[in-house]
Assembly symmetry: none
Homo-oligomer: 211 residues x 4
Amino acid sequence: MISQIRTHSDNYDLVKIRREEIARKSVEVFMKNGYEETSVRDIAKACGMSIGQLYHYIGSREDVLYLTLQYTNSRIVDFVQNISVKFDTVAPTKALQQAIDVYYRGVDSIQDIVIFMYRHTNNLRPAARKQVYKYNEPLVGVFEKILSRGCETGEFSIEDIGLIAHNIVTSGDMWALRRWFLNKRYTVDQYMESQTALFMKQISTNNSKIK
Amino acid sequence: MISQIRTHSDNYDLVKIRREEIARKSVEVFMKNGYEETSVRDIAKACGMSIGQLYHYIGSREDVLYLTLQYTNSRIVDFVQNISVKFDTVAPTKALQQAIDVYYRGVDSIQDIVIFMYRHTNNLRPAARKQVYKYNEPLVGVFEKILSRGCETGEFSIEDIGLIAHNIVTSGDMWALRRWFLNKRYTVDQYMESQTALFMKQISTNNSKIK
Amino acid sequence: MISQIRTHSDNYDLVKIRREEIARKSVEVFMKNGYEETSVRDIAKACGMSIGQLYHYIGSREDVLYLTLQYTNSRIVDFVQNISVKFDTVAPTKALQQAIDVYYRGVDSIQDIVIFMYRHTNNLRPAARKQVYKYNEPLVGVFEKILSRGCETGEFSIEDIGLIAHNIVTSGDMWALRRWFLNKRYTVDQYMESQTALFMKQISTNNSKIK
Amino acid sequence: MISQIRTHSDNYDLVKIRREEIARKSVEVFMKNGYEETSVRDIAKACGMSIGQLYHYIGSREDVLYLTLQYTNSRIVDFVQNISVKFDTVAPTKALQQAIDVYYRGVDSIQDIVIFMYRHTNNLRPAARKQVYKYNEPLVGVFEKILSRGCETGEFSIEDIGLIAHNIVTSGDMWALRRWFLNKRYTVDQYMESQTALFMKQISTNNSKIK
DNA sequence: CATGAATGAGGTTTCATTCAT
DNA sequence: TATGAATGAAACCTCATTCAT
């Protein structure tokens, strides 16, 4: 959905292209300088546009924030979803481990972006905020799907699949949000393995536990 | 530790009192208007001080942020610690449940402050940021202590006490950080109970499980 | 006279047609949003033209103002003149009353345009301003003609016909310019009748007065 | 009344002084460059203030317009009122002539300001506009008072004193508003005398007329 | 000690006009 | 011929901080 943001152009395709360009480049400056510290002038420069051109495709500075958050959310979700499809034929336990692996390593490689998303989604006006949240939700879905499959095969026994999936995701996010704390004790691999092990304790059937 | 912040006053006690006042009042305005939207003038007014007087006790606007983060962290940690002392004589399982109860309900009642802390700690310059982190650490310690005791009594069986404690705390924080997601599915009580149950799966000895 | 305004087109007739269209549509937007608040983009949209096309018929934004002022002046003058012709065979006193009736009611029905004209004619560069003034002058002439005829028939006795005619017109304009004042005390009809009566006192011969 | 305009200062006296300063100086620039063409920077410079200082005493550029309109209105009304008091002991006919003389010459000497007032009062937001109108009203009252006195002494015979007074004022204003028309035909003295003579025809009792 | 007036750089946004397509 | 994307100067306004009183 492109709308909500004021444009001076009716050329839908061009707007779409430019906005993605803006999102992609803006994330970079925001990562480098921080959102609050980045002026519209900086944004325009980073996008290789004149200020006027920039304002053809957005209505306000906040719209750039929205575009970046939307963009990064989509990128992350797409990334995890795309990879997860491959796990559809893998045994649930294995699939789960691999999905966690993908997501946690992903978080590790874009720590700053994850932090950025947690910090600045609240800066958006309510309507935009909700949109961004919506873009994020499928992420939990990826894990729910695997967990469901595990329950069906009898590998997992779970009361509330949604909560576990949510915990898996947020534990991953925490690797970024609390790296000041976790960095001192773990590497990503250690963190990932430990957490995975803990999750397994919550979901494994006695069967698998005995093994 | 008071230092790091430049003062125009040598009266140590007065400075301390005033700074706590500033922190207390500033949190209120920040919650109401947001940090970025609150000007030094607003802060001074909220504190019932003149701008000049305010600048006797702080060196810059950021110092106010530091004071509030320090203050709120301390308040939270103190709160949980104070209550937890009472659990020292309670059986670890019970104590853990009660501590989670206290913390999660606490988070629920100051959701905005928790979000504020996660968002704005990064705004501080590194030195101050580390200080604030340090103020937060004892919180995990509260849970570590209970878990340790449980291991000693044989009620719990835990490989990495620190990680579990950390997970307990951050799961609580998530109630605030992702309320847009969790609110739709749970009440605070449901969330708390479900999470507690899940943690128990990770730490209970077979012994207690059988019960 | 079309000139003064730079064109990109040599098709004289087309230019004329388009400019009238521009004037007609622009008055509408100007009335709705005000001249200062209406951008060239808004004007183009209101005219159903692209910005580029608009600039084929005008040389600058101010030209649009000129066109609208010229257009509205002409419309008003034409309107009063057309109707006044019908009065040529009517007794001067009657004719005057009817002409006043027509003009004052006319002003009442386009109050905003009258105000607009008084306000914005000064925005034009001197040459254009003079043109617009010239377009307005025939209006006074309409009343001068009636007054002259009345002097000839002996119904009126006037020292300075031009001044009375001017006063009649400007009193009408004042119904728009000072409606904030006059609205509180009069309806158009009352205002019109009272002013007409006062003008009669200034121009009636003793003859007619006795009646 | 000072209020309505946002201040950053609570020092009532200082605000009053500065605002009068702003009004006085701003009228000058506005007369020189026009309101629309005068930037806030220009205003500040004309006032001998920094932009920041200017914004201590106003909330927006429009407030400066309000201040100037309020100021000039007050100046005009005060001027006419002050002079008119002297006429209280003069015979009404004489007093009226003198008051007209004072006002019309006044208008002549500040033509640009009168035009400015008619043009830009509409730029104000409604509340401010009404205030400015209110400041203008006593002007009509000055003439009403004289006319009333004339009716009491029997020199004048008037049906609607308010309307005549209003006409006297607006005829004076027209000397400024339509000087492009009137200049060609009259000097200010001629205009004044002719209009006065015409007003006398509307208000003189037969008595005085015979004389 | 206390005050709050003053600073002015720099923020975001608009918009008349041009010109490559 | 017609389009509307692009320009970028300049508009208004804010605000952390200082310092004379």
